[in-house]
């Protein structure tokens, strides 16, 4: 079994697709010799290396490349149904072409989210992870190669909806945004502390629904701060528009920081 993508056969693998483009499946030359162990003396070989060294090395290369080209990549993570895609549609529509914005969509199956993004006019690449539950640095590397974002652009990476697995995998992104919506339990930050601990920003989405749901905002914010004391927090509604000015300001500040590091000056 291949666990990069969780696939068990020839037909199930990570697929990277430029929507309105064509499909590339990754090569799968899994040939292993099968030798039966023999009972001889053993010797110990010290390795002393990080398990995720390969992922982290690739992520570091991606981060360097993005910074060199003044590209800001935002890794959006949440449970399924928190409103990631709706937030992206609204954000791209609000930017109205003032900023080149591109999207990498991560889902186990379907191009549905990518098609929603495509209808906003943004260039979008869909990564289907098959049985895989998260994006990793290699998938983002391939996605970016397909997306080919121009210098100075803003790239959103919508991770697979999952509050557990994506937390551990550095993609080489510029920043991590975790979204929790008020239709979920307010105790999610305590249940999934690894995810919230990695966040640079937490968006509390769907605040327009607060009058209709039993969601303890104060408890949620307290739990988030317990897990990550210095994290930034913004309440938003991607449908009604609450808090989106602050979200755009946060994005602009992030982009300005990237541009400063790279020495990039926008044309005109």
């Amino acid at each position: 079994m291949c666990s990069t993508c969780g696939c068990g056969g020839e037909d199930v693998s990570t697929r990277v697709t430029l929507i309105e483009g064509h499909t590339h499946d990754h090569d799968h030359p899994h040939e292993h010799s099968h030798e039966h162990p023999h009972e001889h003396g053993t010797r110990t070989v010290l390795l002393e290396q990080d398990i995720l060294a390969k992922n982290d090395l690739l992520a570091a290369g991606t981060r360097r490349h993005l910074t060199d080209h003044a590209i800001t990549a935002i890794n959006l993570m949440s449970s399924p149904g928190s409103g990631k895609t709706t937030l992206l549609e609204r954000t791209i529509t609000d930017l109205d072409g003032r900023r080149e914005t591109l999207v990498i969509e991560g889902d186990q199956e379907t191009w549905l989210d990518a098609q929603r993004i495509r209808s906003t006019g943004s260039k979008v690449v869909q990564i289907n992870t098959g049985a895989g539950c998260h994006l990793d640095a290699e998938m983002l590397d391939r996605g970016l190669a397909e997306l080919a974002p121009p210098d100075g652009s803003l790239v959103f990476v919508e991770n697979v909806g999952n509050l557990v697995c994506p937390a551990l995998f550095d993609l080489g992104e510029s920043a991590r945004v975790v979204i929790i919506s008020v239709t979920e339990g307010a105790d999610k930050p305590a249940k999934y502390p690894y995810m919230f601990r990695t966040a640079d920003l937490v968006l509390l989405n769907k605040v327009d629904l607060l009058p209709y749901v039993d969601f303890d905002v104060d408890l949620c914010l307290e739990l988030i701060h317990r897990v990550k004391p210095d994290v930034e927090l913004l309440p938003v509604s991607a449908t009604r528009g609450d808090g989106l000015d602050a979200w755009h300001e946060w994005l602009a500040n992030r982009s300005a920081a990237t541009a400063l590091r790279s020495g990039y000056r926008p044309p005109g």
């Binding site: 291949c2 292993h32 030798e35 398990i51 995998f169």
Partner: protein
């Protein structure tokens, strides 16, 4: 189930380093604050190692406890709970240990 991907990283890294020859045992260090479940690693290892030199290898996993320094009360203490709080109530901590995810060594035949 990120343990599946983690386990393949382990097997790939070892095969890359020492080749596909037979391995009798693998020693890992998986800290208690790493977010990785060692039982799942053991389960996945049997599947992922199948057909490689690591097939049937013994898996020894050290699970170091978490240690943190509280910036508020300036004390160092042990913690294994992923909600990291000092007894003083502060979450303003430096994690010193417990997040390890390392391949320590392999015993080759």
């Amino acid at each position: 189930m990120h343990e599946l991907a983690i386990t393949e990283s382990i097997v790939d890294a070892i095969v890359e380093k020492i080749g596909d020859g037979p391995v009798a045992a693998v020693r890992l260090e998986i800290g208690r604050l790493s977010g990785v479940v060692t039982d799942s690693i053991r389960f996945c290892f049997e599947i992922v190692a199948g057909g490689t030199g690591l097939e049937g290898a013994r898996l020894d996993i050290d699970e170091p406890s978490g240690r943190a320094y509280c910036r508020n009360c300036r004390l160092e203490f042990t913690l294994d709970d992923p909600i990291m709080l000092c007894d003083c109530g502060s979450a303003d901590l430096d994690v010193l240990a417990g997040r390890e995810l390392r391949i320590i060594s392999v015993e080759v035949r």
